[in-house]
């Protein structure tokens, strides 16, 4: 489904500020897999996600989705294959547009658009039905501006939006990190439902080891731009956070993981 081959990403190449964010990642994800990605700050997990979405082009390596080489495709071109939910709840929607207008944008994701009215009875009906499942009463506020909603509400709508068009891949970039614990749990639950219903192949970056093990079918950990371990199936089923730390230590020849936020999350 998704195949990354020897991806290297270097920022500010050839200058004193040169940063090698990703140093040779090869990863193959089959259809229907839900991969959780963990790693400390600067480990390259966000860069990896941005490389998949097309915001960052790799300096070396290739990306194929299905059988198509998309390495040089722009973000807009990849939108018909990839849906995305951002870490910042404000980034995934337009606050000056209404709820229904935001959802209409996602409704036409990757489609040919024309000069017909963007909103009609058909899609409004779908938006209402989708919003109703959140149980937040948003189905009666279709014409409210997105900016009036809380971060959690906006994130929940972003998730609904990602499923309005049949995308193949869902990218989640620490999308619960900016939310309070209760809302985060609600959004995470919704995420799993949507992935399940639409049989999506998903990649979720998270800061929390706990979360990384709780959901999904496979977990990979990045460190200094490389994959340090990759667990799935039975091997992953019984793992705890402590086991993950041991696994990290073993793979890094005794180096201790020093990022507290990873352990506390």
């Amino acid at each position: 489904m998704i195949c990354l081959e020897d991806i290297h990403v270097t920022f500010n190449e050839g200058t004193p500020l040169e940063t090698r964010a990703v140093r040779g990642i090869s990863l193959s994800i089959s259809k229907g897999e839900f991969v959780t990605v963990i790693g400390s700050n600067g480990s390259g997990k966000s860069t990896l996600l941005n490389t998949l979405s097309g915001e960052v082009f790799p300096s070396y390596g290739s990306i194929t989705i299905g059988d198509i080489d998309v390495t040089r495709w722009s973000v807009a071109q990849r939108a018909k294959l990839i849906a995305r939910v951002f870490q910042d709840p404000l980034a995934g929607s337009c606050e000056n547009l209404t709820i229904e207008e935001n959802m209409a944008l996602a409704w036409y994701r990757g489609q040919k658009t024309g000069f017909a009215a963007a909103l009609n009875d058909t899609n409004r009906e779908v938006f209402k039905k989708q919003l109703a499942r959140l149980g937040l009463g948003l189905e009666n506020r279709l014409r409210d501006k997105m900016g009036l909603l809380s971060g959690g509400q906006r994130q929940a709508i972003s998730l609904l939006m990602s499923a309005l068009q049949p995308a193949k891949i869902l990218l989640l970039d620490e999308h619960t990190a900016a939310l309070d614990p209760k809302t985060a749990a609600f959004v995470l639950d919704l995420t799993c439902q949507i992935i399940d219903e639409n049989k999506l192949t998903a990649l979720m970056v998270t800061h929390s080891m706990q979360q990384a093990l709780e959901v999904g079918t496979r977990t990979i950990m990045l460190h200094e731009g490389k994959i340090v371990f990759d667990v799935q199936g039975e091997e992953r089923a019984g793992l705890t956070v402590v086991d993950l730390l041991d696994l990290f230590k073993k793979n890094q020849e005794g180096e201790e993981l020093s990022d507290d936020s990873l352990l506390l999350g």
């Binding site: 337009c94 036409y108 000069f115």
Partner: protein
Amino acid sequence: MSTIAALGALESGLVFALVAFGVFMSFRILEFPDLTVDGSFPLGAAVSAILIVSGVNPWLATFAAFFAGTLAGMVTAFMNTKLGILNLLASILTMIALYSVNLRIMGKPNIALLGETTVLTSTESWGVPYYVATPIAFSVVVLVVFFFLLKFLNSQKGLAMRATGANARMASAQGINTDRMIILGMAISNGLVGLAGSLFAQSQGSADITMGVGVIVIGLASVIGGEAIISPKTMFLALLGCVVGSILYRFAIALALNADFIGLKAQDLNLITAVLVAFAIVAPKFKANISSRISRGKNR
């Protein structure tokens, strides 16, 4: 203020409503600070004037002015999106370049249109004086543009354009080609300004190289003033605000110049404009301040 002065204010208010639409498209929809309009307004005037004195059908000449405006907007948008020049700077470069282009088009700094057949000539058969007929004709134009712009902004493409201005990162994640949207939006914006320049020249009886100076400020004054009066909750209200703002602006200017006791003269026009714009920007804050004080007073 005499009736003729009032109708004159209405007439230029209607022409500048088209400019306000254009400025609304760039500044508000695309969040693109665009000064190209100072060049595309006289460009529209120059193109239609030279075509009219050469004997071309005035309707065709007016359409050519719109088309020339769209090209000017596309040049600015191209410099910004494809060459990576800062939006404000790109627009200033086009504006400066257009000064030379306009002189080249006209061949001289001024072309008189008195006695030529313009789109307003046909209004003579209506049997009303020109100062009544022209505002009526311009209202029709504004109404037609209003209708199409409203349809467009609520269409699939229009929504994509609004998303491009509001949140470009989100827009591209939804598959919208933001560069293309900026080019299209800037073309429409400056096309409308070119059309306004053409109509202005035809109603004033001449095209002049300096007629573009300060057009952007008048357009902004209309947009911001309109927003202060009508809060732009929907696209319909936002466009209505542009028209109302533009006409009220002209009336405010006419009143200020006609009120003898203040002692203002025609040369004070730009000063009045600047004061009005500053006032329109500050006014909503005052309004919010006062209403919050009143409600606090009630709670006590």
